[in-house]
């Protein structure tokens, strides 16, 4: 199954296009016929288990590897050996293995700024700004070898965003981060996308918190893209009905009867003592509440249940297995 909903956008907005990409090493096919596109200012999550071909895809998209078949287009230009270096100047890439342990955080950033053409006069200020945003100012002059995994991860991202790239590739950006640091990082990336209109491609298998960051996703396994498109669209297609949980103060069985008669579906009872139901029509929910109140059943809470990327990911992988 392969849905490419982002392809419906106007072509001038598209920053990255992978067209029928294939890459193998010896007898091992790592990426097969992979196609997707990412529009300006969107965050695309390339999701897949370890060994699924995410890093190879990243290397193909950045011109580090040449595809056996297919084409990569960045900023409207077909990537080749002749223009890959120039195009990389507009890109930032974070990987987990590219920091220099014997240099301090400030030195690591300064070198990268110089490599991306940040003018010396502007560089010091920009480095301080990035360190401040990432909460690393106090450790600016500490050797990176003394940093925790999380701090290194932040610094690697800082290095990738230092020159304010138009396109940012993040390879497992939240790996090794505690939940709080991971949430902070996702929040920062969201702000950056909003304020600078940066396009982001995130390769990861860590799915928590991606709903608030990714506009589009692609699910890859064994080098094949199983599904790709806008998150909202994909979730709506898979789960077309609106889902809710209902918590009541009175008799749960009576409440379930009211739900059944009002919505036309029999609700499920969750382990937390709430009722879960789905409906194709949102407008029926206020009617349900009115019906419950009329039956003198106290409504404590009624909340929509939004399916997550994580649920979609596992549902897609399981479907493909079946």
């Amino acid at each position: 199954m392969s849905l490419d909903l982002s392809a419906q956008r106007a072509p001038q907005d598209i920053i990255v296009t992978a067209s029928a990409l294939s890459k193998g090493f010896g007898d091992h096919q790592v990426v097969s016929n992979l196609s997707f596109s990412v529009a300006r200012g969107r965050a695309y999550g390339l999701l897949g288990p370890n060994g699924s071909g995410k890093t190879t895809t990243l290397r193909l998209l950045t011109g580090l590897l040449t595809p056996d078949q297919g084409e990569v287009t960045l900023f409207g230009e077909s990537v080749s050996a002749n223009n890959a270096d120039r195009l990389r100047g507009r890109i930032g890439v974070q990987t987990d293995t590219s920091l220099y342990d014997s240099l301090n955080a400030r030195e690591n950033l300064r070198i990268w700024g110089a490599l991306y053409g940040v003018r010396p006069k502007a560089l010091a200020g920009r480095v301080d700004q990035v360190l401040d945003v990432l909460g690393l100012s106090a450790r600016a002059d500490s050797l990176v070898g003394e940093f925790s995994k999380g701090m290194k991860q932040k610094l690697a991202i800082g290095r990738a965003i230092l020159h304010q790239p138009e396109l940012l590739f993040l390879d497992e950006p939240t790996a090794g981060l505690d939940p709080e640091a991971s949430a902070d990082l996702i929040e920062y990336l969201k702000q950056m996308i909003r304020s600078l209109n940066t396009t982001v491609i995130i390769c990861t298998h860590q799915l928590h918190g991606l709903e608030t960051l990714c506009d589009d996703i692609g699910i890859i396994r064994s080098g094949e893209l199983l599904s790709t498109g806008a998150v909202d669209e994909l979730l709506r297609r898979r789960w077309p009905e609106h889902r809710y949980t209902l918590t009541v103060g009175g008799d749960l069985a009576r409440a379930a009867q009211v739900v059944t008669s009002s919505i036309g579906r029999t609700p499920e009872t969750s382990s937390a003592g709430a009722l879960a139901f789905s409906t194709p029509d949102k407008a029926r929910v206020p009617e349900l509440v009115t019906a419950l109140v009329a039956e003198r059943i106290p409504v404590q809470a009624i909340a929509p249940v939004t399916p997550t990327i994580e649920q979609y990911y596992f549902a897609t992988l399981n479907e493909e297995v079946l």
Binding site: F25, T62, S98, S102, E107, I111, W112, A114, L115
Partner: protein, 270 residues
Amino acid sequence: MIDWQRVWAVMRKDWLEVVRNKQLLTSLAIVPLVFAVLIPSAVVLLGGSGILTSTTGEWQGFLDNLPSGIVPAGYTADQTIIYTVIVFVLAPFFLIIPVMTASITASSSFVGEKERKTIEGLLYTPLTNRELVLAKVLGSVIPAVFLTWAAFILYATIVNLLGGPAMGGVFFPTWTWAVLVVVLVPLVGFLATSLIVAVSGRSSTMQGAQGAAMFIVFPILALIVSQATGLMLFDVPVALIAAAALVIIDLATFFFVVARFHRERIVTRL
């Protein structure tokens, strides 16, 4: 078109890493100390004590083959031997210093990046292959050249200080030495480093790179260094012509190394 800001950034990074690696610094310091301090001190002191001249018979064959007029007139047998050893015999060692020091830093910086996988980060930047190879070569050659020049100043000071009384005053350096140190040392260093980078492009560990350098690069350089020794016996213009030839060899080697630099091969072997 080379972006020198990018080249400088990589060189500066390499130098910072070298400066903070005490083990590497020690290795770098040992070679010039041996060639610039220990050996010339021994030669001058032994020459003055008559030990060297006691082996005059063994030196005579060498002295007989020297072009006429190459040793200043009026020197005694002791003075001639000291002059010959200091000016001619030890000359090739000053070409070995940049080769050895550059081989240490080149294998540390380039293969070290592969070993630590930091090379992938550099490959994602806008650095061109030419800029990256140039930065790695110059990053090793420049310190090697400065180290050799420092060793040369030390060498000149020691041989004049210790040998001055026996030689009747300042007798070193000569013009041919000036060509050797100023022109040949950087050129030989550049060639050595380019070859090491070429060889190390196929190695994934420092030991592998140093082994490859030992068996492939050093024999080639030994040939060049031995030829350079012969140049010391000729006059300055001949040495300059040889240096010009070395410039062509350096450029050809550099462009060959750049052409053989494949990012795909590097990242897929990390």
